[in-house]
Symmetry: C2
């Protein structure tokens, strides 16, 4: 029988080993500008998965893969009857992504496992480290694929049928890299889920906080907008005869920004994607398609935004002599995290003396879907200038170490809870 476990507060992760593993993972898909391009279910993603699996097996973990390619690396606990404590994130990246978005949570989980091995610790409950498939959605157009299927948000069939720009289905891509596992992707009994992730925003850095205690995820509403006017000659069409789709769209973009700012610092409102047609210098635009998204920690504010935006955008369309077609593409309520799990994160940060603050996740994360079935919390660490989804994404080794240390303490505390 192994030694009794020491108190979590005596455990220390190896910051250098963590950083070296992060850098070794970042070699796979490394871009000339210092970022990473490891699109889901590609040969590069397979190389990342293979390297991760090798590390896990060398650490004595048992790796299994489910039908959507989610990887679970298990370290047994003292009591095989207890459901596992999960931790993890994702190894896939944006097309021009950084080294840490996703990878930090997975590699930090690996470092937790290695540290437990070093110290000869056996936790009461088993611990499982997860690499969720296709968090980014960059290749098949649907983010959170792996955790979404696992959580029952999406069906396996619908996700497999999605195609990338070359017409390759996600199902074929799964088979091509050999990561379609035998067990269905669905929730199994689990005691908790902890995910460490970079903030992907500027708040922690600006306030000089090392740890973000994530209390939940924002509510969101997304729209696809199509403004239809009339394309006509820029030189010959007088003001009174114009039905300029881009001028109307511009006023709606300004509206989104004003509606966001009216909500203060918790508001989010963005037009990120926009296409002009015919997009010719001397032709008044006849059609503009664009995305709109609002996010807010409070469901009631999203309800208000979702009532106000279509109405006010409609007024702009009417006043501009164009047609607006608005379809709601996504609406997610706020997802509060589990108070007990959040409290384990809070206590770990406090015990370790890290400057910390509570924060609501602005981005989507696998944790948001997992939280529908499993008590969940997240830990944020700062990233330079708040940059993410960018090759310039950057964090400091001591920040990675702090996040990993908090993860370790929260996971071990949960796994050893009576």
């Amino acid at each position: 029988m192994p030694e009794p476990s020491p108190a979590a507060s005596n455990l220390r992760i190896d910051g250098k080993r963590l950083w070296d593993a992060l850098m070794a993972m970042a070699e796979l898909g490394a871009t000339p500008k210092g970022g990473v391009r490891r699109l889901t279910l590609t040969a590069v993603d397979k190389a990342g998965r293979d390297r991760f699996r090798g590390w896990c097996e060398a650490a004595g973990l048992t790796v299994r893969v489910d039908a959507i390619g989610n990887m679970f690396a298990r370290r047994d606990g003292r009591d095989p009857a207890r459901p596992p404590v999960l931790m993890g994130s994702h190894l896939d990246s944006q097309p021009s992504g950084g080294k840490f978005d996703g990878a930090l949570g997975v590699i930090a989980g690996l470092e937790v496992m290695r540290s437990l091995n070093d110290l000869g610790i056996i936790t009461e409950a088993p611990i499982e480290l997860v690499n969720w498939t296709d968090e980014e959605g960059s290749r098949f157009g649907n983010s959170l694929m792996g955790s979404g299927v696992w959580s029952g948000v999406y069906t396996q069939e619908a996700m497999e049928a999605l195609t990338d720009p070359d017409g390759i289905t996600a199902g074929a891509a799964l088979d091509a890299i050999g990561y379609r596992g035998p067990e269905p992707a669905r929730p199994f009994p689990a005691d908790a889920y902890f995910e460490l992730h970079i903030e992907q925003g500027p708040i922690l850095e600006r306030e000089a906080k090392t740890i973000g205690i994530v209390t939940g995820a924002q509510a969101q509403v997304w729209y696809d907008a199509v403004v239809t006017g009339q394309d006509s000659h820029a030189g010959t069409t007088p003001p009174s005869a114009r039905r300029d789709a881009l001028v109307a769209a511009a006023r709606m973009i300004d509206l989104v920004d004003r509606m966001m700012r009216a909500r203060g610092e918790d508001g989010r409102g963005t037009v990120g994607q926009l296409f002009v047609s015919p997009n010719s210098r001397n032709v008044i635009p006849g059609e503009v398609r664009f995305s709109v998204e609002f996010r807010h920690p409070d469901d009631a504010e999203i309800d208000r935004l979702a009532a106000q935006f279509p109405r006010e955008a409609g007024f702009i369309a009417r006043d501009s002599g164009v047609r607006l077609s608005l379809s709601q593409r996504l609406r997610n309520p706020a997802q509060p995290f589990d108070p007990e799990c959040v409290d384990l994160v809070r206590k770990a940060a406090s015990r370790l003396g890290y400057p910390a603050r509570e924060i609501v996740s602005g981005a989507g994360h696998d944790a948001v879907y997992v939280a529908r079935h499993v008590p969940t919390a997240m830990i944020f660490t700062p990233c330079k200038d708040g940059l993410s989804h960018n090759e310039a994404e950057s964090i400091e080794p001591h920040e990675a170490e702090a996040g990993c240390q908090v993860l370790l303490e929260a996971v071990v505390a949960r796994a050893n809870q009576g």
Copy 2:
């Protein structure tokens, strides 16, 4: 010796023959949606030129071609010492163009020649019908190529070196279709130039005018704008940390529209082309590139717009926390047409009893460059819904006939002037 010429007012063109020839020309490059795709210096353009040349030669005209492919079909006058009266337009089209943009002026000129033949008229001065090369600029990216080289705005060498998207130079394309003529393209002594064209705008139709007496062309100033902010995550970046290039660009688009409307019905201000980067739904745009153009009949207004726009757009950039780089891409002064030539058009329309109004050309035309060397006027006819550069471009046979009749009378009056 032929009979003395009757007064121009007794001459009648053959409306049915005109329309039939327009439809016959529109067969070459006909698109399924009823438009025309006859890109300059392609095999289809060659087919149009060959058909045109055949018609001209059958009408007894002498066709010569200059070094940039401009075609001149000459009908001798009584006095060989007199410089010719020119008329014409262009046979090339936009990629998804209509049947009448350009073709109307060339085919109507042919009908003028045929009518003079029918009636046995010999004018005092010779008359030459011109088909200018590459008015549209769609293939090599430089509009008004043929009239521009002829007028000395562009050099033959610079134009020949332009390439199409397949890397074919305009020079090679000229040779490939066999339309590089022996004589240099440069102004030769000419008495006048008349161009009949569809309005490509809605004004004549809206006011139920059959004839536009074109008094000149607008002044123009064009810009390329680049707004640089910072791309960042749409969910995690709070309002105070945003430097959204698209929000700033949207306010500049609204500014362009407001500056246009402040000039009343003569103002033109358009953002026709816009590209967002990275153009991803959940990323705040870091860069937006767009075109800006202003047009106005009055040079002084263009001067004011060119002073005001960079200043006010700069204020928007500053207030939005982004950088604006603005480069002036083109600046053309207003080009007034020749008062005597314009008066010949006015008198013809009046004598024929056509509802007419004076109008300033909003679009660029070969006539604008020719006017730098030769007394020039243009005649506009309405087009349905003001639509042009569009397969749905449409005119009525009686409108084509009216324009052609005015062209005939103006040209004959000029050619017979004492």
